[in-house]
Symmetry: C2
Subunit: 260 residues, 2 copies
């Protein structure tokens, strides 16, 4: 029997921060047909609020360390303020949303990132996606909305990368669905020339990706995203779309499709 389609849509912080862009994106998301899951980043809101609360950002080698106070701010801002306002807005658009962290219904279990040279603090690497529990919500016609927080199954919350959460959810739910993973970000797609927003690569299979990667086409911010995407594809996700937030509603515009 052919699997039913499921869209897992990740939307980034730049959209979250822009009230009008978010409203327009959520309207597009609410009209998306079939089963769907939203994963959102947090944007700079958490940094602003942490700074107002006098919590300093602790950066090591350019990467943020999540100490106990920072985790509290992330839980407040991503898990509360951002997530619940998105849920309320989706309800206003007749989408029966339910906001989740990985702790809720034990949906995403993680373990603390191992300390090698750097201790990232309360950062969790995904260990298990409880896709059967998540599917119970979808079978009840609820639309899950995930923020980028997971837990260790023993009472501890963790900060986890939102792109990773989206790809791990997509992989887990591939056991039950034909999953399409959609990454919405500030560019029109994967670009051949980083400064030319019209240089969108329309289609890219994993072989082409390896060649372009070794040619140095992709910049530092794009590489982990693409690694995430091809990891998802290699683990059973049917295809990945990358583009600006309007791609979920406007099929005529440019975007990148990744496949095996």
């Amino acid at each position: 029997m052919a699997k039913e389609k499921l869209s897992v849509v990740k939307v980034g912080g730049n959209v979250i921060e822009d009230k009008d862009a978010l409203a327009s994106f959520l309207e597009g998301f609410s009209k998306l047909e079939g089963k769907k899951i939203l994963v959102h980043g947090g944007g700079k809101r958490a940094t602003h609020i942490a700074s107002k609360l006098g919590i300093e950002s602790n950066m090591i080698n350019g990467r943020r360390v999540t100490d106990a106070e920072t985790l509290e701010v992330i839980t407040m801002v991503y898990g509360g303020l951002v997530n619940k306002n998105i849920v309320a807005q989706l309800q206003g658009l007749n989408t029966d949303a339910i906001g989740l962290t990985g702790a809720d219904i034990n949906s995403i279990a993680s373990k603390k990132r191992p300390v090698k040279d750097i201790d990232y603090g309360f950062v969790g690497d995904v260990k298990k996606v409880n896709y059967k529990s998540i599917d119970k919500l979808m079978q009840a016609d609820f639309t899950p909305v995930f923020c980028a927080i997971t837990h260790d199954e023993n009472g501890q919350l963790f900060n986890t990368n939102a792109d990773t959460i989206a790809s791990e959810l997509a992989i887990g739910l591939s056991n039950l669905y034909k999953v399409e993973l959609v990454y919405c970000f500030e560019k029109n797609g994967v670009l051949m020339e980083v400064d030319d927003d019209d240089s969108v690569i329309d289609f890219m299979d994993s072989g082409t990706y390896e060649i372009l990667k070794h040619k140095g086409v992709f910049h530092d911010g794009m590489l982990p995203k693409l690694e995430n995407c091809y990891h998802a594809i290699s683990e059973g996700v049917s295809r990945v779309f990358i583009g600006n937030p309007t791609i979920i509603s406007n099929k005529e515009q440019k975007f990148t499709t990744l496949f095996l």
Copy 2:
């Protein structure tokens, strides 16, 4: 057919604020048999964080007004920090919790409190409890954990009294269950003498309540709680227990039982 039992347990801010008391309470809650729902207050955490963020409490006639900034703090603290940490702790105790505001699965719709003499801002009075949707979660063996936030079904979140949320949930779910409502607070029960913690009234029917109320036995903080409780009982809730947080696990201790 006899209805299945459901416990709706409200725990107050004084427990939420005390790490050990909260851990002990959640252990008791996790062991409570049968279907159950937790409703939590927020404690003074929101006030502390609002003050750190430079948001002044706006009080009119001794009552807090929820302006837009205060609503943001409440959404962060109650909906994010407090709710998600409780969910994670319950997961660690093998209770498959799911954290909710009234916006999630449109579980509790409210409308802005009408402006008479005072405009309370973003304060919502409960309009409808969507007990069928909440029951879908319980049928999937999830344990709902509610914070004191509702929504207008059109994108706006509202601040709502946690005692009221507990009683409205209890009333709504009485359509499907034999509901026992449990209020955990700082006293051992309803007291005959406000300063004597041993003067717990064991049982009180609504007739006795009316008599004692007119005698002036109950102080200002207790009266709205009791009004809430008897309203719940008159609307179909089977009985209400009031006592300190240990009453959910220790049956030998004193508490008050309210009934019709």
